[in-house]
Each structure stands twice: as structure tokens, then as C-alpha cells.
């Protein structure tokens, strides 16, 4: 059942990935000016120009160009960076590990702390704790990430000198970036967990669970938690893409290498092959996240598993 569902979801990703790739492909063509110029370094020789045109079939129709581009992608050819003059795939390969480490840690941090906070605030029926958690959720979901990053740098790196101001040296350089991304993530996960638990508590079957003589803890962990986890898992899976993409600001502020700062730099330098490459990677992460979320949901909920898609 689950296997069939997974297969269905994978099939549904095909039109999605085609549309995404078309959008990313079209970026170069939507830009003002000649798309060939957009792909070339200023002051390139006519020979460079011809080589590029020949390589990507830029003199052919858009249709052919798109398929050439896709074909190249499948062979690992993401094009040539204009400014850095290196294959885009190398740049991505260099930056991706940094993003994965930061994203992975931030993801783990926000899921664990967020879920704990959400559970605490809805289970411990203490108005003060509940209000504190709600206040934190409000702060975490409203304070701009880059500003929080600056404040953390100011306080922990400049004043207390506990952590380095920027860079990607040792593990200690990860603490502040993870905290910054995690802050918003924790708030989001805590909010979803809290609401989901309170919704689950209101379900009719909970009354009958109590009537069976089950203890509060059994009901909470065996029955309510699985229900509350459904939306949380969805949000967390969606978050995979968001954490990688949302890390843009944080990587920028902390001067860390990574997909986000590579993208920002490329945008600033109008290095479009790199922009396309980064976007493709991020899109891939978003799609993977959604897929994982869907599959996890189906694994947990028999109703989803059997729904006709």
C-alpha cells in the first residue's frame, strides 16, 4: 500500500519538476537584454560567444534550447560560472556541504526543541508556562532573521566573545547560525505541535479512550501524539526546503559559505548560470521535503494511504 502510494507521489513529481525547470530555465530569457549576453562575461571575445552559442544551441528555438539544457543537467553539466569561470557544479559541490550541515543542525534543533515546547505548553496546564511559550512563539515567528543574527553577533560574539563573529571555521562557528535559523523554526514547530495536540484532544474518540480506563499518559503518548505528529511532520518536511532557502540571510550575515550565500553573491554579480544551479538545488530540496512529508504522512495515517489520488 505504502509502496504504491510512494510510486504515485513520485509520478506526481514529474509535472512539478518539469514546471520548475521551465521557470528556472526561463529566468535567463526573461531578463532584460540578450540572453546570450546574460550568460557571458562582459568583454568576452566573439570566439567565447560562438563557443557558448554552439554549446547550448542558443541559436536554435527555445524548445530545443530547453531540452539541450535539461540533457546537460542530467549529465551533471550545470553550465559555466561567468564570474568565477568554473563549472557551476563544482561551486555547488563546494558550498552544498556547508548548507547541509547548517540546515541539518537547524532542522534537528527546531524539531526537537519546538516539539518539546509545543507538548509542554499544551500538556502542563500551567497558565504561566503556556503564556511564556506563546510569547516565544509570537517572537520567533515575527522577529526578522537577519536582525536576530546581528543581535546574537553583537551580544555573544562581540561582547561576550564566546563565539566567532563570522566564518565557517570550527564547530563553534555553527552555534549562532543554528540558533538564528532555529529560533524561527522552533517557534513554528512549537505552534503547530501545540495546536495539533489541542485539536487531537478535542476528538471524539479521546472520550472513549478515557472511558476504557487508560491513563492520561497512555492516551497522550499512544493516541494523541500520533495525531498531533501528522501536521508536525508535514510542516517539518516542508521546512527542509525552507531551512536551506531561508538560510540565505543567515549565511549572508555570518559570512558563511553555502548555497544561500552563493546564490546571493551570484544574484549580485548577475552570474545567471550559478543562480540557475542554486535554484535547481533548492527546488530539489523543496520537492524532496514535500515527498518525504507525504510519505511519512501516509506511513502514519491509513486514511491517507488508501485515498485515491
Amino acid at each position: 500500500m505504502l509502496l504504491r502510494y510512494t510510486f504515485q507521489r513520485l509520478l506526481m513529481l514529474i509535472p512539478v519538476s518539469i514546471s520548475i525547470s521551465i521557470v528556472i530555465f526561463m529566468i535567463v530569457h526573461l531578463l532584460p537584454g540578450d540572453p546570450i549576453d546574460n550568460l557571458l562575461r562582459i568583454g568576452s571575445s566573439p570566439e567565447d560567444r560562438e563557443a557558448l552559442v554552439a554549446r547550448y544551441g542558443l541559436d536554435r528555438s527555445l524548445f530545443v534550447q530547453y531540452f539541450t539544457w535539461i540533457g546537460n543537467l542530467f549529465q551533471g553539466d550545470f553550465g559555466q560560472a561567468i564570474v568565477l569561470r568554473r563549472p557551476v557544479i563544482d561551486l555547488i559541490g563546494q558550498n552544498l556541504p556547508y548548507s547541509l550541515v547548517l540546515g541539518g543542525l537547524a532542522f534537528a534543533f527546531s524539531s526537537i526543541v519546538g516539539m518539546s515546547l509545543g507538548i509542554i505548553s499544551s500538556v502542563v496546564r500551567n497558565p504561566i508556562i503556556d503564556r511564556l511559550v506563546r510569547g516565544f512563539i509570537l517572537l520567533g515567528s515575527t522577529v526578522p532573521g537577519f536582525w536576530l543574527a546581528l543581535l546574537l553577533i553583537l551580544f555573544f560574539a562581540v561582547n561576550l566573545r564566546w563565539f566567532p563573529v563570522s566564518g565557517a571555521g570550527g564547530w563553534d562557528s555553527l552555534v549562532l547560525p543554528v540558533l538564528t535559523i532555529g529560533f524561527g523554526g522552533v517557534a513554528l514547530v512549537a505552534r503547530v505541535t501545540r495546536v495539533a495536540l489541542m485539536d487531537a484532544r478535542r476528538e471524539d474518540f479521546v472520550m472513549l479512550l478515557h472511558a476504557k480506563g487508560l491513563s492520561h499518559n497512555t492516551i497522550l503518548f499512544r493516541h494523541l501524539m500520533p495525531h498531533a505528529l501528522l501536521p508536525v511532520v508535514t510542516i517539518l518536511a516542508l521546512r527542509i526546503g525552507w531551512i536551506l532557502g531561508g538560510a540565505v540571510t543567515v549565511e549572508f550575515v555570518f559570512g558563511r559559505p553555502g548555497l544561500g550565500s552563493l546564490l546571493i553573491r551570484a544574484l549580485g554579480q548577475r552570474d545567471y548560470p550559478v543562480v540557475q544551479g542554486c535554484l535547481l538545488m533548492l527546488a530539489l530540496a523543496v520537492m524532496l521535503g514535500t515527498l518525504i512529508g507525504d510519505i511519512a504522512q501516509a506511513a502514519m495515517d491509513p486514511r491517507v494511504r488508501e485515498a485515491k489520488t
Binding site: 474518540f205 472520550m207 472511558a211 476504557k212 480506563g213 502514519m300 488508501e306
Partner: protein, 318 residues
């Protein structure tokens, strides 16, 4: 001595008192019907007996609930938990939503025997399959491996009944067990409950708004209105000579086929909500016989043979 007796029960949510002065008792092998329109406090009575009021923010303020000689009103939660599902089973109103949709049927029923009879999962499963079989569920082993959403409403209600029976309880509380079901299935479930009372010597509290169900299955009946009992007694007495105008009206609502004069007497007006219970007799705004005294003074119960009614004019010919 009665298996379960409730005396002068009063319930409060904060400063609101949705239930007061409810009394009834039921023995083994007996069925008592608690009847009334929705919002009359029937389900609250069930929740009080199950000790589940704190869950929805309520508390018992008056009276007591006695189960097998033991007062339940001040029973600690841990002791109460042993009774719930163990010696008192509950069947709820809506079978569509009363099972955990993420868990298979088998484990949901097994849990009761594992918890209260200290069985191993394997023994519990064997017992579950036995019970399902006695409830006339075909292929119990197959059903145990199914999820709730794969079954019909009537089937789910049988599962809920199986869960309530799993630990061999003494008392079964059925809160509108058939309201959400198809008419044909309703009859089956009611007959099933009736058989269970006889076969297992259960005491059944049947909560319903359907007077005809009461007439078919119950030995005793309590008529409730606006959080109060208005009349109680044996089914024969109450159906032969209802004293309270409300009971009379409810009986008048039962469609009687065949005699050609069948007529549904609807009761004009609506049930008051908790926020605006009337003073005096709660039924007076809708009562055809209401007098000055009904609006000011709450009537006491007066006995008439096997029944008692709380009406100023009970026994007085209209």
C-alpha cells in the same frame, strides 16, 4: 441493593449548574432508560457516572453516585480508572468518530482486556475475537486487522460495544447508541444490547430521546428535562399512566401505526439552554397546564404507585 444508584446528582461548570436533582437506580439484568430531548442533561449524567466530568471542566456539586455499594463521588482518579472500562463500560453516541482512526481495530479492543484483566496481548486478542463473534460480527480475525475507516457505522458501533464488554463489566452505559445509525441498524443494535443484558446479567443505562426504544427495552425510565428529572418509575406505570405533562407529551410523540388515528403531537416551543433555565418548574413555558405556581415554585416529587412525578398538578385531572 442496586448495582448503580444515583441520588440527587448535581453538576456545575464554574457557576453554571446544568444538572440538578437527578436520581435513579438500576440492578443486574435490568435496563433503565434515561429519556429526554437533546440538551436535557442526559449525556452529562453519563459523564458523571463515568467520572469524566473533570475532562470537560465540570464537577459534581450535589448528591452521590453509588456503584456496587461504593461511593464514587470522592473516588481518587487511579481507583476510578480501574472501574472505567473494567466494571463500567461506555458506549458513545457517534461510532464514526469514537475509534482512533490511526490504529487497527484489534489493538483498540485488546487494550481493555490487557489493562483490566491483565492478559497478555495474545490472550486479549483471542478474547477480542470471541467477543466480536458473540456480537455477530463475521470473520473477527479479519476485522481485527482493519482500520476504523474501512467499516460501516453499524459495524463500528459493534466494535465500540465490544470494547465496552471486553473486561466483563457489571454496568453498561449506552449514550444514544443508535442516533447516528441507519434505521435498520438501529433496531439490530438495540436488540443486541437487550440480549446482552439478559445473557450477561448486566445493568444497562440506556440514554435515548426515543420513547419507543424505551417502551421496547427498558424496565425503568427517568424522564429528564432542562437538567432535571421530571418523572421516574417502571416502564409499565409510566406508559400506562404518565403523570407529568412532559412525559405525556413525549408519549404522545410516538407514532402509532395501524389504528388510523395516528397523530404526532409535537411539543410546541424549544428546550431551554443551560444559560436560561426557567424558574419554578423547568417545563412551564411549554406546558399547556401551567399555572401561576409553576412559574415560581419548583414542584416536589409525588409518588403514584411505581412512579413519581415532579408536577404541581400530577394526579389532578386536566
Amino acid at each position: 441493593m442496586s448495582m448503580l444508584s444515583v441520588r440527587d446528582l448535581g453538576v456545575a461548570f464554574g457557576s453554571i449548574h446544568p444538572l440538578s436533582g437527578v436520581s435513579f437506580s438500576v440492578d443486574r439484568g435490568q435496563t433503565i432508560g434515561i429519556v429526554g430531548e437533546s440538551g436535557s442533561g442526559k449525556s452529562l449524567t453519563a459523564m458523571s457516572v463515568m467520572g469524566l466530568l473533570p475532562l470537560i471542566g465540570g464537577r459534581i456539586t450535589d448528591g452521590n453516585i453509588e456503584f456496587d455499594g461504593q461511593d464514587l463521588t470522592n473516588l481518587p482518579e487511579t481507583a476510578y480508572r480501574k472501574l472505567r472500562g473494567g466494571r463500567i463500560g461506555l458506549i458513545t453516541q457517534n461510532p464514526m468518530t469514537s475509534l482512533d482512526p490511526l490504529k487497527k481495530i484489534g489493538p483498540q479492543v485488546d487494550a481493555v482486556a490487557i489493562l483490566h484483566l491483565e492478559m497478555t496481548p495474545k490472550e486479549a486478542r483471542a478474547r477480542t475475537e470471541d467477543i466480536l463473534e458473540t456480537l455477530r460480527i463475521p470473520e473477527p480475525a479479519l476485522i481485527c486487522d482493519r482500520y476504523p475507516h474501512q467499516m460501516s457505522g453499524g459495524m463500528k458501533q459493534r466494535i465500540v460495544i465490544a470494547m465496552a464488554l471486553a473486561a466483563d463489566p457489571d454496568v453498561l452505559i449506552a449514550d444514544e447508541p443508535t442516533t447516528a445509525l441507519d434505521v435498520t441498524v438501529q433496531a439490530q443494535i438495540i436488540r443486541l444490547l437487550d440480549d446482552l443484558v439478559k445473557e450477561r446479567d448486566l445493568a444497562l443505562v440506556l440514554i435515548t430521546h426515543d420513547m419507543s426504544v424505551v417502551a421496547q427495552t427498558c424496565d425503568k425510565v427517568v424522564v429528564m428535562y432542562a437538567g432535571r428529572a421530571l418523572e421516574f418509575g417502571t416502564v409499565e406505570t409510566i406508559f400506562d399512566a404518565p403523570q407529568h405533562p412532559y412525559t405525556q407529551a413525549l408519549i404522545g410523540c410516538i407514532p402509532r401505526g395501524g389504528d388510523g388515528t395516528a397523530k404526532l403531537d409535537g411539543i410546541p416551543g424549544t428546550v431551554p439552554t443551560v444559560m436560561n433555565y426557567p424558574k419554578g418548574c423547568p417545563f412551564h413555558p411549554r406546558c399547556t397546564r401551567a399555572q401561576e405556581i409553576c412559574t415560581t415554585t419548583q414542584p416536589e416529587f409525588t409518588s403514584y404507585g411505581d412512579s413519581a412525578a415532579a408536577c404541581h398538578f400530577a394526579g389532578v385531572a386536566p
